[in-house]
Subunit: 467 residues, 2 copies
């Protein structure tokens, strides 16, 4: 929106006078969008197909390759003017076949057995190379770890056990305040001489499902294995380990397997007025290798495709080109997002808008906007049109990982790009996130479809009211 | 609020000037309420106990009797100043042991078998007295039924098949536009000579679970049996019956068993300033005899109890008396609500506020207010304090069945009573409503607790800012 968004805000005064006149027509079109998606929406049946016939799809896996073909076909069927693949080089990590964390229940030689915990390797971790047996040291996070001496940590396994803060109303805020343990805990522990880490699953649910997720090592440290344990096991281990020495055994044969070729899948509905101006809507096609990647992010992918289908089916012709992107590799590298942004810069394409859905397929509440207060106010000006559909939240916030590399600002290739993230109700998201439980039965068709309708309505309005 | 609510609105101008000063303290107290309920909330564990150890509890059943004792004990433990029972005479209806709807798959004598549908008797229906076999006539509702001739309906079974309108954003609106078929369909069909009715389940989910629910007969008609069939079966039967005559068989031994004594359960936290002024908060303790009555309305009952516990635990002393009422018999008679309202009138008690939760334990969005525009505006004035907790909806609307008989208005005993209904997200509610699937695993602890927090915060604000 170099040329467009600047003009967009100049039209604000004009709009204030005319919005009431136009609003009637807009409200009819928005009503059509929601009527269509709530009665004949395809996002849920397409998501069911992805979840049940392909399942999880970690970058470089067979599932990921199948999902690329699936995405290509579904975009074609949904009425895209063109569908194409964009090559993306992705890292390949493989979980292997062994992932165990066991607690020694008595002192050595006492003959007591081991208690197996519900555990899984963290994505990106190295394997254990056989069994690792060591004493654990529980900490409530990296800050507490750093207060310990290297002598105390030498040869130990660090147990990161700070829970997500249940007082946060947005569970994403709770996650953000906690996930450093998973992402960076192993690196920090290794720096101080530890031989492995186990991390309490990032979940507000107290249950037996371990949650995987990305982690990475700084270049400078020895790579030590990192695994997640379920929240019930973390609570139990905390109690069991109080005032005594606890030995655990870790075993994992996960490994990094190098790089492979994969793809972003892209479908377009060409603009009738300025097709060279691009409006992106997307989610990520890859998922962790647990469950079916239903909410994360099969939901966002299928909502994005549905936006295109809604425009096409209802005959809503966008002025600018609507580009649906099913990004590859959000979970462990974001190479899809990075590659796409690089291509945009290389081609000097004009992007005016990017909307991402990657917070689950729950009832939509509104949008997080990466923009100035003026821009947020402008978007919040649509409130009256959108509130009948339960959309009330229009606040400054992070739009999404996949579109993140498109950056806005003076130094970026796209200085005035407007970026939005769909914000659904967040209460249940982390119950399923990256776990075996992220399956299609956790998705409600109406909630998913309301989200697709919300994105379609917002894109329709922004396309119409920017010049 | 004879004296109080009138004054309440006179204070509006005063409040506009001072609310900003007070808001800081209020926001701290509201934060305490949500911190407590999100970290140490008891509503979910109490609800689990009710669901798993008692289960469903239709009026007059053993479950209902147990739930009265349960409610008494939980209110005691939650810190009520007093707990007592209020006798309520309730109708007793029993499902019996047989409930079948089967479709004859071929013409008579062709030797083809029957297809059994997923069916259940509607609450209040008479049994079939053996098997009823008759041809079905499908209609899309009572209006269509009335256009048919009595000759066409004589001896037939009417199949009411109008689905809930999925275009409605509020599923309660969709339910309201459809439930006449279930409630009054049998009476209307009987009036025209039909011998039975089957009704498409009131649900937006397309699945195999039949949903029961209340129905009643006008005095003047022959009582004919009424059953619900699942939405999948309704869709199938519609297709199967297109352009051909279909015979079905109904069988049910449900029956009305007269009347029994039961109770509302009431707990109070006495007001320190005007204890004679009552603020009611409640839900209904009875449930249909399907599932566990988790969302309907174990959720509301336990949220109401939690409001009292929150006030007690946090040392929030109400000016007026907070009266928690676990109403009996909302589902098939509302005798708890009616009896309570009669006692209030008899005793000439002053009620200033009544808040009900009976729309499921999902993420709260706000409140429906039975009141004047001035009153709604006053309540919406708390928006700034409540929006951080996801509460954004403050609109005119129906407050609830249990508190309904308390009526407001010139001719009622309580002319200025303010009545509010908690409004949670409605998308999933009718998937489970009155069906085997309304079980504790469908309730998310955080969503339930946020609803309790919302009620506590609203009651705190209204108690504080009315004079």
């Amino acid at each position: 929106m170099r040329k467009t968004l600047t003009a967009l805000f100049l039209t604000l005064i004009f709009l204030t006078c005319t919005l009431h006149g136009k609003a009637q027509n807009d409200s009819l079109i928005i009503r059509q969008i929601f009527d269509e998606v709530l009665t004949k929406g395809r996002a849920y049946s397409n998501l069911s197909d992805l979840c049940l016939n392909i399942g999880h799809r970690l970058s470089g896996s067979e599932g990921a390759a199948k999902s690329v073909k699936w995405g290509y076909d579904v975009l074609k069927k949904s009425g895209a003017d063109t569908v194409y693949l964009m090559e993306v080089e992705v890292p390949v990590w493989n979980r292997g076949t062994v992932e165990r964390v066991a607690v020694q229940m008595g002192t050595k030689g006492s003959g007591q057995g081991k208690r197996e915990l519900h555990a899984c390797s963290l994505g990106g971790s190295v394997g254990t190379g056989g069994k690792i047996k060591a004493e654990i040291i529980e900490v409530q996070g990296i800050a507490e770890l750093k207060k310990l001496s290297e002598a105390a940590l030498k040869g130990k396994i660090v147990f990161f056990n700070r829970p997500m803060d249940s007082r946060k109303i947005s569970t994403f805020e709770a996650y953000g305040g906690c996930v450093d343990q998973r992402y960076a805990g192993a690196g920090e522990a290794s720096r101080m001489g530890a031989v492995g880490v186990i991390v309490r699953s990032m979940s507000l649910a107290i249950d037996e499902h371990p949650h995987t997720g990305g982690m990475a090592y700084p270049d400078s440290v020895q790579r030590i294995p990192a695994m997640a344990i379920s929240t019930t096991d973390a609570e139990w281990l905390h109690q069991f380990g109080a005032n005594k020495t606890v030995q655990i055994e870790m075993e994992s044969d996960c490994e990094f397997k190098g790089y492979a070729k994969s793809s972003n899948v892209i479908g377009e509905l060409w603009g009738y007025e300025s097709p060279q101006d691009i409006m992106v809507v997307g989610g990520h096609l890859d998922s962790w290798d647990k469950g079916q990647g239903a909410h994360d992010d099969g939901a966002g992918v299928n909502q994005s495709i549905e936006v295109l289908r809604l425009f096409k089916t209802l005959g809503i012709k966008p002025k600018r080109t609507l580009r649906v992107i099913l990004f590859m590799n959000e979970e462990n590298g974001n190479m899809g997002g990075k590659t796409y942004a690089q291509k945009v810069a290389d081609k000097k394409e004009t992007h005016v808008l990017a909307v991402e859905s990657d917070r689950g397929g729950f009832t939509p509440r509104g949008f997080a906007v990466e923009g100035t207060q003026n821009e947020i106010d402008f978007i919040a000006g649509f409130r009256e049109l959108l509130e009948p559909y339960g959309l009330h939240y229009f606040e400054k916030g992070y739009a999404g990982v996949d579109i993140g590399p498109l950056q806005r600002g003076d130094k970026a290739p796209l200085p005035n790009l407007l970026m939005l993230g769909l914000v659904p109700d967040s209460q249940r998201y982390f119950d399923y996130h990256h776990a075996d439980t992220d399956t299609i039965d956790k998705v409600n068709p109406r909630e998913l479809h309301l989200g697709a309708g919300a994105m379609a309505a917002m894109i329709y309005l922004l396309d119409r009211y920017s010049k």
